[in-house]
Amino acid sequence: MAKPIIQMENIEKHFGNIIALAGVSFDVVPGECHCLLGDNGAGKSTFIKTMSGVHKPTKGTITLDGKPMHFDSPRDAMEAGIATVFQDLAMIPLMSVTRNFFMGREPTKGRGPFKRMDIKTANDICVESMRAMGINLRGPDQAVGTLSGGERQTVAIARAVHFGAKVLILDEPTSALGVRQTSNVLATIDRVRKQGVGVVFITHNVRHSMAVGDRFTVLNRGKTLGTAERGRITAEELQDMMAGGQELASLEGSLGGTV
């Protein structure tokens, strides 16, 4: 296997008296899609937030391209080539779609004191990226606050994909998406993976994860239950692990195994 781009070792994270992560290790190699799975509240979002510089780990080390790293801010992580779709999307409702899309990394033209935002380019890229995901925007200056849930999520994904240089982290990216948009996102993951980007994909949908995942790590109550490679684990086994091993049979039965 290739050398990991990013390697997280024994990460712990405490919030006041709450232990959200109790020692998690994880790595991503170029060109793979590493799925992070687990029950609600298992600590997935907290974990990828430490990976993208939002939280500082209480304990543990992060190694990027073989060198130990300290991210002081998400900006540091971004400059190291890590792009993230957060579960809460990190969008500003009052700002337009384009401005949200390029927030923090605006394209410019002109130079010196006349360096200014290249709004036309920005609008074009934004509309184009959204169309590629299956959403036709009414206009790039619509406020994000007036978009539907799925439209908003698509903006966040398109943005991360556009700026994802080495690692692309997606925290439940398809939760609010329609059928067509979901297919597009999965296809996109497939495409960027083939370009050599390492993808971290969080989802509750076993089918989605089986469709694109190369490796599967399951978190449970702040700890790793283990990592499996594609082909070594079945969808049913994965599902059992994700649910924390609880009895699903009875429920499943009554609903016809549809979950």
């Binding site: 939002v54 900006r75 700002m95 360096k115 935002m117 790039p140």
Partner: protein
């Protein structure tokens, strides 16, 4: 946000007129207020108010307030307040006055020193806010008191016990930078206009309006620059983002701390600019300069459409907000209303101007 709209054919969009698209911009809503106030005074005020000299007369305080208001608006869009700008006017006035009068420095040195002091205090404000996570309201409030107190003590030191420092006008007389910060610009032009009769004159032949007060030019320049920055530069985008949602902005890679600290410095420098202009104009400074200006600046920004919660507003809005406020305050002195009723009118006019601006915007955009 004023990005160029790309028109896509979509059966789910109703047509809308150019006018209604215009009014949706926060910066333009405040114009409605200006129009209303103007109409009001056209009917009630002495006709002198809308002569050239009358306009200069109400634009001067509006400009002084407006310079502060534009700074305050940018900071508010960035999600913070600075309640210390009023005291900063007194403090920067003291620094500036002490430099030119007590130490006899030329303007080319005194002005940068004043700006540096102001920026340092602004940065200190910002650093405390960001470091501790306390609301900027309370931190800058402390500096409201501290700077006001320091100005008092400093004035007493600089003047041997008085709270008024005089003699600035003599001290800056003849300095080559003086025309940039005080007096009236385009004096020659106006003298000529007076000669050919385009501008009214006093009995002695001097033009009634000797020129455009420099603060008005600064005010307009600042409004244009701020608008350009907010709408057309990455930094402007970061300001909106930092104020809209600090976490989201920072998670998206906006350097929120840097943006906010620079905004605090900018606001303080706006206050210093007002201090320099007013001290040179008045020729003196005292410990109560700028009293309550912080609130007036915030008021002007809010009239102009800034949200107190941050992330929304415009510099042009603050520009018109300051003009509305200035017109109402000075305009009432051109009317025959009894001074006892002054505050009732001031409050009433403010309310009506804002209500009207709001009503127009809603009518036009069809939101409910």
């Amino acid at each position: 946000m004023a990005d160029t709209a790309q028109i896509i054919v979509d059966e789910r969009i109703k047509k809308e007129s150019f006018g209604s698209r215009l009014m949706q911009r926060p910066e333009l809503g405040a114009i409605a207020g200006v129009v209303l106030v103007t109409i009001f005074f056209l009917f009630t005020a002495d006709s002198a108010m809308f002569t050239l000299s009358g306009i200069m007369n109400f634009m001067t305080p509006a400009a002084q307030l407006g310079i502060l208001a534009i700074g305050a608006a940018m900071l508010m869009i960035g999600g913070e307040f600075d309640l210390s700008i009023g005291s900063m006017v007194a403090f920067a006035g003291l620094i500036f006055g002490a430099c030119v009068v007590t130490f006899g420095l030329p303007l080319i040195i005194a002005i940068p020193i004043t700006f540096v002091f102001a920026a340092l205090v602004g940065a200190l404000n910002g650093a405390i806010v960001l470091r501790t996570g306390l609301p900027s309201f309370i931190v800058t409030l402390a500096f409201l008191f501290i700077l006001r107190g320091v100005s008092l003590v400093g004035l007493k030191l600089a003047t041997d016990g008085s709270t008024q420092l005089r003699g600035v006008r003599d001290a800056v007389e003849g300095d080559f930078l003086t025309p940039l910060f005080s007096g009236d610009a385009f004096g020659g032009l106006f003298a000529w206009l007076a000669e050919i009769g385009l501008v009214e004159t006093f009995n002695n032949g001097a033009p009634k309006v000797p020129g455009i007060p420099v603060e008005i030019l600064w005010f307009i320049a600042l409004a244009l620059a701020a608008t350009y920055i907010l709408l057309r530069t990455p930094y402007g985008n970061w300001i909106f983002a930092s104020g809209g949602d600090r976490n989201a902005a920072s998670n998206s890679g906006v350097p929120v701390r840097r943006v906010k600290i620079s905004l605090f410095m900018l606001t303080a420098c706006c206050a210093a600019l007002v201090a320099i202009i007013t001290v040179m104009d008045a020729g003196s400074t005292d410990a109560r300069r700028g009293f309550m200006k912080e609130f007036e600046a915030i008021i002007a920004a809010v009239i102009g459409g800034c949200l107190l919660t941050g992330g929304y507003g415009s510099a042009i809005g603050a520009f018109f907000g300051a003009i509305i406020f200035g017109m109402v305050v000075i305009g009432l002195s051109y009317t025959n209303f009894d001074q006892d009723w002054f505050q009732v009118f001031l409050g009433g006019m403010l309310l009506i101007a804002v209500l009207f601006n709001n009503y127009i915007r809603k009518r036009v955009t069809g939101e409910r």
